[in-house]
Symmetry: C2
Subunit: 180 residues, 2 copies
């Protein structure tokens, strides 16, 4: 099966995934978004596993909800030595370079990966390892915060294949990496 690394994420209109304190309350600036289908379930059905960093993992662990993923979760972290007991059946730690980590995950039979969290997405982009990105823009200008994108060793071309406006407010753009 072809390996694919995919992103599905929400940003503010000015490209932030969290405010400067890491908060995501602004995602609720349009509360109706929780009542509509923005394609998350379809996207999830198209991936085999998730790859995230420590910070995203710990955020998810801290949510006061049941574990939200039905697919295996791989946590990339240099600093973490093991997954907390409570989550050992939910997630596994992976270490090494991105190439090594991907090799480990592919060997286990997971090829279509949901790459999540700002730092991890940025690391993948730095090595040109992202194939497509579905970015939902919550139309608020925050003014500052934690950006989705960061420095790159070289520019990367994408193509926008699809765009959907939800609720006359939110726009979701689907970008595919163009390799020429």
């Amino acid at each position: 099966m072809k390996n694919k690394n995919r992103v599905f994420i929400a940003t503010s209109l000015d490209g932030y995934i969290a405010d400067k304190n890491g908060g995501i309350d602004w995602l609720d600036s349009i509360p109706e978004i929780n009542q509509i289908d923005t394609g998350y379930n379809k996207f999830m059905s198209e991936v085999d596993a998730l790859v995230m960093g420590r910070s995203t993992f710990e955020t998810v662990c801290g949510f006061d909800i049941d574990w939200p993923y039905q697919k295996p979760v791989f946590v990339m972290s240099r600093s973490m030595t093991e997954i907390p007991e409570k989550f050992k059946d939910k997630a596994q730690l992976v270490k090494g370079t991105l190439a090594e980590i991907l090799e480990q995950i592919h060997k286990k039979g997971y090829h279509r990966l949901y790459i999540d969290g700002g730092n991890v997405i940025q690391s993948f982009l730095k090595e040109d390892l992202i194939d497509d990105m579905i970015i939902t823009v919550i139309p608020i200008l925050l003014g500052n915060g934690i950006p989705l994108f960061a420095d790159l060793p070289k520019p990367l071309n994408f193509e926008c294949k699809k765009s959907i406006v939800f609720l006359d407010k939110i726009v979701q753009n689907h970008f595919i990496r163009r390799k020429t």
Copy 2:
């Protein structure tokens, strides 16, 4: 007539309007864009005048083409003392606070304004003076550059009313300021 301040601009996928050296060569990463109608003429027909900063004005003056605007151009600049002789029938200098500048322009009968250039757009956003923004996203990640958006004293809510994909590559999103 109702006063309106509007933006029509292209950014990279990571939100830059120019690369770190001020260059805009990357706008040509999809050269076919010059052969299609992205709504610029329609937008221009809906504004009465342009407002830009010194840097955008000097960039336009430097283009090796005929003067591109059929509408009056107001150049906001603290440092400029007069418009160069060659462009005196094309543009006029305006000074003062944004409120003062807008009052001057409105008094001359221009109410629907095309606000152009990163610094000027940022100044207008800081005072919550932008009514709508048509942003064309050229799907390239530059990694760094001159951003369209900057710090704000408070978050600003918009609504995306329309989105168009051009050439299966470029997406143009139309955001309207939501005041509640």
